[in-house]
């Protein structure tokens, strides 16, 4: 989940309220659902985390300050550039051949502010978070920032031959687009996004000078921004129009919050034109009835309207029960009226609610399996057994090779380590693992586990099964002992069962039985095969059983 950093001073400055300080900052962070992870008083750096994957506008100092000011102080910046008509020369021309490759672009220029250290840091951070987290590692979104003074207008966004060459950022020599994918670190990291296409996206200025190779790398010439630069050009490319427009809007308001003057651009596609940044006119209705029902508050239409407006929405009253809300242009997370109700609740303050008790009557109960498990557990404890509890993920070797039984194991496709590479299909191997690790614990060892397993054989098809697994280890452990334990268990459960001699690779031939209950094979009992014991380096005879709980 996105974590982002900023200086405490920078954040407090941007909020601009004396009453906000480090001590009470967390209360204000409620407005943005961010968590204060750390503050380093030496560097003045704050580490914040935001889990709202639908609010990329909040993953920055500017967005955090903006939402706090709105929700807590009813103060709103006027982003008038959203209503500006672009200057005639501010144009990005889009090559129709980009269709199916990376068709969308948005962009704007910035003047009137010098790039400071803080602004540069925040720009780079916003770029990273928006591309990595929201932009799915640049697949959906990639952002480029340029020194606008060097750019000759109009800008051209084209599908280029792979043989085209330019000097990528951080290199002193020209490379073709194909070479960049093979040699440049960013090419290796992000090349897979475009590698499958015949032509690659390329951004050039009007003189043909390459600006960048989206989504991979900027040019070393135009695509380099440093502290002190005064005029910038920002562009966003991607595969989905709305996301591209949204991210351009977020970048624009963030820079405007630092005093930058935003100049919009016209994006010229083959058959249509768009302006960027531009407003979304995407409204959602919310009713008073729904709000009352969902919150349990006796709210009035005025209060609801006022709170939503305060939170940042443009609110129109349709009637005494209905409001139409247009979220600010840097948000696109309102899918349903319940999203608006949450904004209202945050404005109201979660801790200002009076918690109420549920008043409907329901009868609580445990599941039948849990009840049966409880009974089994009590009986085994009565027979002097210690319960154990273990992980469900385990190693393939333990479940198969050591048990001389390779069948039906469900494997993890992307294991973190081999130690936890499969789902256990049996608990007996884990009880043997415990036995192998505890030769010094006082004997006899009488242990059991009640737990879930799953296997990949045709019959079970990854279905979860509940199992009881029992193991006895001491110098005289034998079939007769384990059989009396099973017998006592089944007697007190009131279950008549039979043992049928079978062969099982993990148990000694002639001392192994299938446990048959109601004509069905529900488990196996026996003396553990000496070769299995040897595989586990166990020097003590062991016997056990495992059965399905149902």
């Amino acid at each position: 989940m996105p974590g982002y950093n900023c200086s405490l001073k920078g954040l407090l400055n941007m909020i601009g309220k004396e009453e906000v300080n480090l001590e009470n900052l967390e209360d204000y962070l409620d407005a943005v659902k961010s968590e204060l992870k750390e503050y380093d008083s030496e560097t003045d750096e704050l580490k914040l985390e935001n889990n709202d994957t639908n609010r990329p506008d909040l993953w920055s100092l500017e967005g955090t300050a903006r939402q706090i000011k709105a929700c807590m102080f009813d103060e709103h910046a006027d982003y008038d550039f959203f209503d500006k008509t672009p200057k005639a020369e501010n144009v990005i021309k889009v090559d129709p051949n980009l269709k199916g490759i990376r068709p969308y672009i948005a962009g704007f220029s910035v003047s009137g502010t010098k790039v400071t250290d803080e602004l540069l840091k925040q720009l780079i951070q916003a770029q990273e978070k928006l591309c990595d987290n929201f932009g799915r590692k640049r697949e959906l979104i990639a952002i480029g920032i340029y020194d606008f003074n060097k750019v000759k207008l109009p800008v051209h966004y084209v599908a280029s031959e792979k043989t085209k060459s330019f000097m990528p950022l951080g290199f002193e020599e020209e490379m073709t687009l194909s070479e960049i994918l093979e040699k440049h670190p960013k090419g290796i990291q992000y090349g897979n996004i475009v590698a499958k296409f015949d032509k690659f996206p390329l951004l050039t200025d009007d003189s043909g000078e390459v600006m960048s190779f989206p989504p991979v790398i900027n040019s070393n010439n135009l695509g380099k921004v440093k502290v002190g630069d005064e005029n910038l050009f920002v562009e966003v490319t991607g595969t989905e129009k709305e996301s591209v427009m949204l991210v351009a809007n977020i970048m624009a308001v963030n820079i405007a919050d630092h005093g930058g003057i935003i100049e919009p651009f016209t994006i010229e596609y083959e058959s249509e034109k768009f302006v960027s940044p531009s407003k979304f006119e995407d409204s959602t209705e919310v009713t008073l009835d729904f709000t009352k029902k969902l919150t349990g508050l006796d709210v009035t239409i005025d209060e609801l309207e006022n709170s939503l407006r305060k939170f940042g929405h443009v609110v129109k009253r349709i009637d005494e029960n209905t409001l139409s809300c247009t979220p600010p242009s840097y948000r696109r997370d309102i899918l349903h009226m319940s999203d608006l109700v949450e904004d209202y609740c945050i404005c109201y303050g979660y801790n200002n609610f009076v918690p109420k008790m549920l008043d409907s009557f329901t009868v609580g109960s445990e599941s039948d399996i849990s009840k049966l498990e409880k009974l089994m557990r009590e009986l085994l404890i009565g027979m002097n057994f210690q319960e154990v509890m273990t992980y469900i993920l385990t190693s393939k070797e333990n479940q198969t090779v050591k048990m001389r039984d390779e069948s039906g194991i469900a494997e993890i496709a992307n294991p973190m380590t081999e130690t936890y590479g499969v789902v256990r299909k049996s608990i007996i191997p884990i009880l043997l693992e415990i036995e192998s690790k505890n030769p010094r614990a006082e004997y006899p060892h009488r242990i059991f586990e009640i737990g879930e397993v799953a296997s990949a054989d045709e019959k079970t098809s990854y279905e979860t099964k509940h199992k009881l697994s029992v193991l006895v280890a001491h110098s005289n452990a034998n079939f007769s002992e384990i059989s009396s334990i099973l017998q006592a268990l089944m007697y007190y459960l009131g279950r008549e069962y039979k043992l049928e001699p079978i062969e099982h690779p993990s148990y000694i031939v002639g001392r192994t039985g299938a446990i048959i209950y109601k004509g069905e094979n529900i488990g196996v009992i026996g003396e553990i095969h000496p070769e299995v014991l040897e595989n586990w380096s166990i020097g003590m005879p062991c016997c056990g059983f495992e059965l399905d709980i149902k």
Binding site: N133, L335, H336, Y350, L393, I412, M416, V423
Partner: protein
């Protein structure tokens, strides 16, 4: 005085009675006089020493000789030096040092020290690499020594005083104090004790009587009624009792059972679901878009499916697909992307207990109805002191036409009191893909301080409507691992699933 006498063990009484005849005994004499075997006598002496009724003093030491395994081998096979001398003697002109090991069938490294020994005793002469026997008859000397080895081997353990001076010299020479196992003989020193009665002991004697003292009530005593005449010895009841190995629940299980009991008490019914889930129930049904960042390869364990993936049940599949793609059917804008049918069938290890809630919603839950699950869940995390490969999540839902956010907060407050034992709580806005509004509850735990106790919210309509539930549904989840660790007294989460039998056996109930 009476009480002291009554508590005396029969062995102690027998020893004290022996002192009626004389004041000082040796160990053996006392054994005879008290009619107690030596090994039992030692215990009685220790007890009486503690009570100050007798005292012991050392009157001397005795040395006992026995043969070691090395010495014993020599006693049987003779000295290797003898063999060397015999081999040399059989060659008139002597034998070259180089060829000697081969002739003996021994390793050179073992032969060399023996030669050195023979030379020291002038038994051989070496000239120009040729070894010859000297004039002296060293073989006879060795034979004599060998007879001593044989004698001691036969005797087993023998008092050193019973050996001749020659024999004692041989033994002392062959005894290495620091490394007895490398020597030929062992010498063990034993301390000779003299046991005498103290004034306190003497004072007790007149009160002693030889009684029929009973240690253990037996069926025979009960049947015969003889217990009436018998005197039942009084015990020191504060002596440590032997440790017992008992059967018991796992301590973490005990903790989880307590939580379950609370939830059942609060009117929740238990629900369950599979460990190996498909993406549909784990995520899609919960309105997590398929491109959501928590759904990639580094967040979830995928399971290799060796079979044809199963179709998702209708109408849930079509409804959920439609909620994701455009949402119109459910008064939502939807996520606006093309739903991937293959992806939704993919198998994963259940990543959140909410998957079970989704299945419960689809199964036609009671209304009003409350449900909970204590579910194993799996996250793709590096295993360390705070992360396990799998862990328990406590999850649940409440379905009720009249449920709302204020009641959700009331339920959370109740959980804080019942499960964390605190009334000090704070609510914070939170984000979960499947609830709106969403809330996090922080509670001040009596030991841990402020902890994030749980997350909750009201299920989005895009979750409930496609699964066929029209009433509002509260969804909640509690983080209980840290509380479990406190009550188990551990600070590494891996210990919850420990393989250490002593740790599990010694852990107390919670």
């Amino acid at each position: 005085m009476n009480e002291t006498v009554e508590r005396l063990h029969p062995l102690e009484i027998a020893v004290l009675m022996a002192f009626k005849k004389k004041d000082v005994f040796s160990n053996e004499e006392l054994s005879v006089a008290s009619e107690i075997p030596v090994n039992q006598l030692r215990t009685a002496i220790e007890w009486l020493l503690l009570k100050n009724f007798i005292k012991t003093s050392e009157i001397g030491r005795k040395e006992f000789v026995s043969i070691t395994s090395i010495g014993s081998e020599i006693a049987e096979n003779g000295f290797p030096e003898t063999k060397i001398l015999e081999v040399i003697a059989s060659n008139q002109d002597g034998i070259s040092l180089k060829d000697l090991p081969t002739a003996l069938g021994m390793e050179p490294a073992k032969v060399n020290p023996l030669i050195g020994n023979l030379r020291k005793n002038s038994a051989v002469v070496i000239e120009n690499g040729i070894i010859k026997k000297s004039e002296s008859d060293f073989i006879a000397t060795l034979e004599k020594r060998l007879s001593i080895f044989k004698k001691i081997k036969e005797l087993g353990t023998v008092d050193i005083c019973e050996l001749s001076k020659e024999e004692v010299d041989e033994v002392r020479q062959g005894f290495k104090k620091r490394t007895p196992e490398k020597g030929f003989f062992r010498i063990d020193e034993k301390i000779l004790l003299e046991i005498s009665i103290t004034e306190e002991g003497k004072a007790v004697i007149p009160f002693l009587k030889i009684r029929q003292v009973v240690n253990q009530i037996t069926p025979q005593l009960l049947a015969s009624g003889k217990w009436r005449e018998a005197e039942i010895r009084k015990y020191d009841i504060n002596l440590n009792a032997p440790k017992l190995l008992i059967g018991k629940k796992h301590p973490y299980r005990q903790f989880l059972e307590n939580v379950r009991q609370k939830l059942v008490g609060l009117g929740f019914e238990e629900m369950s679901g599979p460990l190996v889930e498909n993406e549909f129930w784990d995520m899609d049904a919960l309105f997590m878009p398929q491109f959501h960042s928590a759904r990639n390869i580094h967040d979830v364990y995928f399971v290799k499916n060796t079979e044809k993936p199963k179709d998702i049940e209708e109408p849930f599949y079509s409804n959920v697909k439609s909620a994701h793609e455009n949402g119109k059917q459910f008064a939502s804008k939807g996520w606006g992307y093309t739903f991937d049918e293959e992806r939704t069938k993919r198998l994963i290890m259940r990543s959140q207990g909410t998957a079970i809630s989704a299945r419960t919603l689809a199964s036609g839950p009671k209304n009003p109805g409350k449900y909970f699950a204590v579910a194993r869940c799996f996250r793709y995390d590096q295993i360390d002191a705070t992360h396990g490969t799998d862990f328990f999540q406590v999850e649940g839902i409440a379905v009720d036409e009249n449920i709302n956010f204020a009641k959700l907060l009331g339920l959370l407050k109740l959980f804080a009191k019942e499960i964390a034992g605190t009334e000090e709580i704070k609510f914070r806005p939170a984000y979960f893909p499947f609830t709106e509004p969403s809330v996090e509850m922080h509670a001040k735990h009596p030991i841990l301080g402020w902890i994030e106790l749980g997350g909750a919210g009201i299920f989005r309509k895009e979750v409930t409507l496609p699964l066929g539930v029209k009433s509002p549904v509260i969804a909640w989840g509690l983080g209980i691992d840290r509380m479990a660790m406190v009550s188990l007294g551990i600070n590494d989460i891996r210990q919850l699933f420990s393989h250490d039998l002593d740790f599990i056996r010694d852990s107390k109930g919670v």
